[in-house]
Amino acid sequence: MNKMSSPRWGLLAVCAIFGTLSQAMAAPIRVGLVLDKGGKDDKSFNAAAFHGAQDAQQKLGIQLKVVEATDDNAFEAMHRALAQKQFDLVIGVGISQGDAVKKVAAAFPDRRFALVDAEVSAPNVRSLLFQEHEGSFLMGVAAAMASRSGKVGFIGGMEIPLIKRFEMGYQAGVRHVNPKIEVLSSYVGVTSEAWNNPPKGKELALSQYGRGVDVIFAAAGASNLGLFDAAEEKQKFAIGSDSNQNWIKPGRVLTSMLKRVDVAVFNAIELAAQGRFEGGIIRHGLGDQGVDAAVDANNDKILTREIRTRLESVKKQILAGKIQVPDYYQQRK
């Protein structure tokens, strides 16, 4: 037996060496990133995806191509073009790309796709989802504790279930601290333009501040920038979302709900680069810090120790199942 098996082992070893060699010598994988309307400079959602991909470009030496959609019908053509041009991994960012990825992934079964925020069940699609309601609950806790007026606000981008999920989690967080606090809600719009309308974001924020609100949480992509302007003007607090936005107006941004799209995108690229890409639905939440509250030098002084301690304990209680955060997606069913 031994005589028989040793040449086989030898062969296997040679194969393995060649295998690793060929992998090491192979050209860097090509990654296409298709951003939503807000674009890579929205300092929020798309910016997070862009930074994740850029990080991968620097650390993993991949080839990266970034494209931005100008209209909602362009997504499919862009995904198709990237798939046709031998891109190994195509990443769609945003809920409106779900249909496009579903169609194109079916037409190109040997290409790999990643999709942020939308769910497509196909063997070559990795859907990257986040437990937004849990992160928003933390923001609600922080807002309620920082508020002196007893009124806090919420500004959503496009009025869709995804953002309702933010709103519902946030409201529950506020009530968890103090059921008497009033929550005002407004939405920037009903079309995808809502992600990229800072003037309207500012208008809504000024109106809420005018009605006695002193902390506003916004989940509105590039429209968040309008809120930060208003917060500076009125010397009130704002809470950012998706990326860490504390730096945009230091001292006025109480904290930001991190949605680590950057990490999820980086991981998807890394897996593809290592040849370990798998399709499926990946949910990131508080447990793996896929959603979290941002603490850094910019909000050190305003996010008090008391709030931070409370956030930590709330986080633990949610993970332990002691606090049930209502999920808009579940309630709709």
Binding site: G32, D71, D72, N73, A74, R80, L82, S192
Partner: protein
């Protein structure tokens, strides 16, 4: 054969393209490389050609829409609003009556779209003819109202509850227009053929019917037309109604031919690009076929710029479009250039003869 009507637009096109490509040199790209990407992107494969034809289809309809109004001396800036309401009505008919069998179903949804869009444009026509409101102002304002109405309808009564995207219910299977074979996965549908037919039909109408004559007379001299006993107001209103009905044809390719539902914001300003298409064609329906094809190719070709160049994006399409329109509009410049050139030639010849 007269060459001048083809020559000027062709010169304008080449000038616009050349200047646009030169501008890419400023961004550090090789203009030849960019041109290569454009040509390959638009015609490189059957799929690419199919996408060019797909983008050509809506421009064909909006180009014709603007041309018809222009023939009667009216500027239809409202094709964008007309096409969105027309496509919406088309979608409504197509998901409300899914059981109508195939050839009839197309007629029903087409008619629904044309009626609504025609009536919508007719408002501007009526305001112009009876109230003297300038159609440029009224059609632009109607665009905003149409956008509001479309958003309301898509998000409320027609909403597809199964998705988070703002879109309507899917149309009935019998309403879907068949795809043209031979273009791979490109969604070119029979809508293109309908558009080509419309263009030829309009070209014939303009040249050979009383209606065509009335349109042209009203367009060239309203007072003369009135003196000649042409019902100017009625002709103007009808011109707008027909323009609106034509704009609704965009829904054939986009909704019945490809998306099979109305997605909010589906049009990348087809209505406004239609103005450029009509301008380049100088309002000639056969010319519209050629210029819609060119603009479709430009739209498809520039999409690939994002992927194949470092610094140039698909926005180059807008730059080139603007330059082409500028070149078309610079009529006086061409005339003077032509004069100078010919006088220079003459003087050269004169000198040559003397020597």
């Amino acid at each position: 054969m007269r060459i001048a009507p083809v020559l000027k637009p062709a010169a304008a096109l080449l000038t616009g393209l050349a200047l646009g490509l030169l501008a890419t040199a400023l961004a550090g790209e090789s203009p030849l490389h960019v041109l290569g990407v454009l040509v390959r992107g638009a015609f490189g494969s059957r799929y690419d050609l199919g996408m060019t034809l797909f983008y050509m289809t809506p421009l064909l309809f909006t180009g014709l829409s603007v041309s018809v109004a222009f023939r009667a001396g009216l500027f239809n800036i409202g094709a964008e609003g007309q096409l969105s309401l027309g496509a919406l009505a088309m979608t409504w008919a197509a998901f409300t009556f899914p059981s109508i069998p195939a050839p009839l179903s197309w007629a029903v949804s087409m008619l629904a779209g044309a009626t609504v869009a025609g009536a919508w444009a007719g408002i501007a026509g009526w305001l112009k003819a009876r109230r003297g409101s300038h159609e440029v102002i009224s059609t632009i304002m109607l665009n905003f109202i149409a956008a509001g109405l479309a958003s309301y309808a898509v998000l409320n009564p027609f909403k597809n509850p199964e998705t988070q995207n703002p879109e309507t219910l899917a149309v009935g299977a019998s309403h879907i227009l068949p795809a043209l074979p031979g273009f791979g996965d490109a969604p070119v549908s029979a809508a293109l053929l309908i558009g080509l037919l419309m263009a030829c039909w309009l070209g014939w109408l303009f040249q050979h019917t009383r209606w065509g004559f009335e349109l042209q007379t009203v367009g060239e001299n309203e007072n003369a037309a009135r003196m000649a006993g042409i019902p100017v107001e009625r002709v103007q209103i009808m011109a707008m109604v027909v323009a609106g009905a034509l704009a609704s044809g965009v829904g054939l390719g986009e909704v019945l031919g490809s998306a099979h539902r109305y997605k909010l914001g589906f049009s990348p300003d087809y209505g406004f690009v239609g103005i450029a298409v009509a301008l380049l064609a100088r309002g000639n329906p056969f010319g519209v076929i050629a210029s819609a094809f060119l603009f479709g190719a430009l739209h498809k070709g520039t999409t690939d710029l994002d992927l194949e160049t470092e610094h140039v994006t698909r926005d180059l399409a807008l730059v080139i479009q603007a330059l082409i329109i500028g070149a078309v509009a610079a009529e006086g410049l061409w005339a003077r250039l032509g004069e100078r050139l010919s006088s220079r030639l003459r003087s050269l010849k004169g000198r040559g003869g003397g020597g």
